[in-house]
Subunit: 641 residues, 2 copies
């Protein structure tokens, strides 16, 4: 890896998004999602599953107070994954072991949102939350409400399943974001105190463990970048290095003495050391969080071996385990990656969070190695699976993003009960909505990065960027006409690197450029105007014929946007539709209309084969990210040709 | 229903199978399956899962002796479904709650086999088993080793899950078969004693329960037919009548007081009274066993309403829930029926036992109503899913019979872990192998039935039949050339009714006939020779286009035999093969060879659509029932066209 190529994202305070397509989403997050999620956190929404997150912090705060005062603090079990038994003590922890992260993710989203649009009320509410969080912290820095409420003596005794390091990771992300956004360092200081404790406990001479659900790795690097404290980086490296070593820490902490156990830890990406990993395996969200942390550590230590592992895993995802929508995770069992080319449409998991995590991984890889393949995938995930996660009104969410839905199957077939035919108001396991909120609010961090010599444009989102090299105004009609204009006020010589989208048929740039690994490089030494015109015709895309489900089928794309067919536009039994090889596409925003045939329904279960009869018809496609906004109905990305 | 149409199967002693196709299977069962299963029952097979069935009877026998002697008999828990905990007491019951049925099914198969081919050794071994079984019976007639060993006070307290009535059913089937085959009535007498106890306990004034796993219903009718004791029939009717009444017995026995609970009992077909049921639901084997008992009771009482329920359920199976192979049960979850037209190939359950049970149901329906649709399905199940259940050497078995197998998916995808790419030596839950053995050994019972006026030929299997109407010799080359010859020595006037297979394109009968509901009726009043020639061309069959998985695909059949493609003949990646619309079939027994195309592998995950390129190739088909005899490999019934 060549460190001269390394780039960093532009800080959010230096990039102001102003884009017809994105303003709406950012405003939705600010006006709907963040307030709604705050209500949800506080259990103020009727009919939604209970979060109890704030409640837990209040209870933990009381425990801390009582401990300080030397009072007797009760002990409750910490042996479960979810604590909702109605018979359990009202004073004990409630919800999932990772429920603390709800408030951290909310705070992180608020932080980003405040930078887009300052809001006094929101800031004050956030400060109240931070005060509450800090009041729940033990004097030694430890901060996890499950253990503080239920049993202080069991802290860090079940790293595999109890998510303390995962909660810490989200805390650190929130703390850094809030500090960067507001300059208020109360949460950051509290987080550093917790991080210091973690660094003291986990090291070569201490506990040699690591989290069952990764994120602490990338979070510690963020905290290092924010504070400059090198021990945070060292502990991130330590976690990655220890992971998967034999004998397995997860075995040791459970008291197992076993030989043949690596299969148990694929789920946690702990089957072997990360540096030896070549494929994406296990729980998809955990995977991409780990891979992001690996990329961070590889970069910080200029560790080629670790970076090669990242590249190998990346290639495995991109070339063999990625849905056309940028979704990952083919199975509900363990919310996990399966095997190469196993991409079922109707059984897909494709968790919204997994695609968000894939964007984290992609950005880090793009920052290390200027190759457009990373941002191509980032864009694919963003415009399809990530956006699909949220309803058009910002009030309901998909956790799972299948590529084919038959509502009857979701209701009657237990194998598909994870697939919801309409978005849900909230989730008991509410990871996706706040993850969406923080991603969309910080989208500027994904648009462009800068190195010593270059400014890289990865995503074409209208914005105003401030850098010491130049101020750049971008006017973008990217997803629609494919036109993007740059108005550059040059401050010093640099090279602008524009990603050439893998979804364009061609492109035209108004100035001379040199092309390398999917970026067009343009030397800038004075104020400059640049126009790019991407040619985004409507395209028929086929899947590798090793993906059994999609053989004989195609998907429709325009630029990075994947389209689908819905019952609302095309009637029931979408499988009866067939696209003509020359479908004579018509773009009628947001729809695409095409020529096809509809087979007549044949209810006879088995009969002599005849060439199917059908009538010509128009088939209407809608962007995948917009599906499911018109009530429960059938949907399919792939269609027969 | 018209009772003059009712027919009965020909008793096995009056039908001797002699058929090129079937002799081999019957001999396999006699020489391989029955002895192998006896070893398995006795846990004498290395590497196979343990049965412990005989062991349980020995323990129960000791309990009975101790009880008689007034000794203290220990109590163990009866709260589980499977009892294999290594820490549990060695004196307690081991295995599944229904493990007693292993020996009953074996005895039933032995009984049938002894009629085909008397074997002194086998008879003696059977007698030893019967002595053991009888020695384990309580003085009041009760006979179920789980409760006799573990806890006599809990008898009949968990009808939903503990399978005592299910075990009784298999006992009764074995007892009747053994008595019919040998005249030895020891087991029959013991069974009647148990049946008498059941009749005393379960009635309008007693317990108003019914078994969670049906079979007692049809078994009690068998026992009634064998003994003439009407109370057995009445109790069968009682079980069917009580089933699904509200409040639910299954709720009452668990002490539940609930309102919205019918969804819980679809699995057991106890959501509503059988007479009101219209669709096949729940656990498929339980379903077809219940439906068989319903048909028996409807017939015995000439109950039109109950028979109409049977017909409605039948039509639902035949027209909307039946795999082309005669398999039923689309999901592993609950081994169950799902919803109309939901027939996934690779996730299919299609338990061997379910297709055997479907044959039970079909035969009963055909005996009540002479309509060939019943025997058509019976034949489809027999020649495909049932035969597929057993390896060509009789030594390994399929429990699950999918229509598409990718071995990698079976190993790596937990959603398909129920699908085994090769047959297994034995199963801990060993229902299918002995069920296969008893079905094949008694195949004569399915071939033909007789009413007052008619002899119906349902299956064309070479045999010699003795009846008071005639002695009939059938020489059959049915599945191969489609030719069947009848040599009839007439004893009195009757009408021979020959089923016209739904899988023939045409047929030619050498004598005049009248056709009604799929049977050709021929009046016989003297010694007669009849030839039938069925025209069984190789056919392309399509599935309803409401079955999403099979749209654009076909299956290949010749007569009732469904063919499939295997990797052993066609290489990896069967999905790349496409059949020509005019495939120019060649029959090279047992193979069918056809013209098609093979697409080139395209490893690029997503790319611009082009009409697929491929080379012409020969595609080789093998009968579905013979698949998986050449090691682990891919298989598919459906192929693109």
């Amino acid at each position: 890896m060549e460190s001269k190529n390394f780039s960093n994202h532009i800080e959010l305070k230096n990039i102001k998004i102003n884009d017809n397509f994105w303003n709406n989403y950012i405003e939705l997050v600010r006006k709907e999602v963040i307030p709604y999620q705050y209500k949800a956190l506080n259990d103020e929404i009727d009919g939604a599953e209970k979060s109890r997150c704030i409640d837990n912090f209040i209870k933990a705060s009381k425990s801390v107070k009582n401990i300080r005062e030397g009072k007797n603090v009760p002990v409750f079990p910490v042996d479960k994954w979810e604590y909702n038994d109605e018979n359990s003590d009202e004073k004990s922890f409630k919800g999932w072991v990772f429920h603390d992260t709800d408030i951290y993710k909310w705070l992180e989203a608020v932080a980003y949102s405040l930078q887009n649009h300052y809001d006094e009320f929101l800031f004050n509410e956030a400060i109240k939350c931070i005060d509450l969080i800090c009041s729940a912290q033990l004097d030694n820095g430890y901060l996890d409400t499950l253990y503080i409420i239920n049993d202080r003596n069991k802290i860090f005794t079940d790293l595999r399943d109890k998510h303390e390091l995962y909660c810490f990771g989200h805390l650190a992300e929130a703390a850094v974001a809030f500090y960067n956004a507001t300059g208020n360092d109360k949460l950051l200081k509290a987080t550093c105190k917790f991080a210091d404790l973690i660094c003291d406990i986990f090291n070569e001479n201490g506990k040699r463990g690591y989290g069952g659900h990764e994120i602490a790795e990338l979070a510690l690097v963020k905290l290092y970048n924010a504070t400059g404290k090198r021990k945070y980086l060292e502990t991130a490296k330590f976690f990655i290095n220890e992971r998967g070593k034999k004998p397995y820490y997860f075995d040791l902490e459970k008291g197992y003495d076993r030989k043949d156990n690596s299969n148990d830890y694929f789920y946690n990406q702990a089957h072997t050391q990360p540096v030896n990993q070549k494929e994406a395996v296990g729980h998809a969200v955990r995977g991409v969080y780990l891979y992001s942390g690996m990329a961070d550590v590889a970069r910080a230590y200029n560790d080629d071996r670790l970076f090669n592992a990242c590249k190998s895993i990346w290639d495995n995802i991109e070339n063999k385990k990625l849905y056309i929508t940028g979704g990952i995770g083919s199975t509900v069992d363990g919310e996990a990656f399966t095997f190469d080319y196993d991409l079922p449409n109707d059984l897909a998991y494709c968790e919204t969070c997994a695609s968000i995590g894939l964007m984290f991984f992609a950005r880090r890889m793009a920052e290390i190695e200027p190759d457009s393949k990373y941002a191509n995938v980032m864009e694919r995930a963003l415009y399809n699976t990530v956006l699909s996660g949220m309803a058009e009104d910002g009030k309901s969410f998909f956790y799972v993003n299948p590529l084919e839905v038959l509502p009857e199957a979701c209701h009657k077939d237990s194998r598909k009960s994870h697939v919801k035919p309409v978005r849900q108001k909230w989730f008991g396991c509410a990871c996706c909505p706040p993850n969406l909120a923080r991603l969309i609010s910080s989208i500027g961090e994904y648009c462009c990065t800068e190195s010593n010599e270059n400014i890289f444009i990865h995503l074409y989102i209208g914005s105003e960027i401030k850098s010491d090299k130049a101020d750049i105004k971008i006017i973008s009609d990217y997803t629609d006409s494919g036109k993007v204009a740059f108005d550059i006020k040059c401050k010093k010589d640099f090279t602008l690197a524009l990603r050439i989208s893998d979804t364009c048929k061609g492109f035209d740039i108004s100035l001379p450029y040199t092309e390398k690994k999917g970026y067009a490089y343009i030397k800038i030494n004075s104020d400059t105007l640049i126009d790019i015109q991407f040619d985004f015709p409507i395209r028929l895309i086929k899947c590798s014929n090793l993906v059994r489900e999609n053989i004989g089928k195609v998907a429709v794309m325009k630029g990075p946007v994947v389209y689908c067919i819905e019952e609302a536009d095309n009637g029931k039994n979408l499988q009866l539709l067939r696209l003509c090889e020359n479908p004579d596409f018509r773009y009628d925003k947001p729809y695409i209309i095409a020529h096809g045939k509809r087979e007549r329904v044949d209810t006879s279960l088995y009969s002599e084969y005849k060439s199917p009869e059908g009538e010509e018809c128009e088939i209407k496609f809608i962007p995948y990210c917009k599906w499911g906004n018109r009530g429960e109905n059938e949907m399919s990305v792939y269609i027969r040709i």
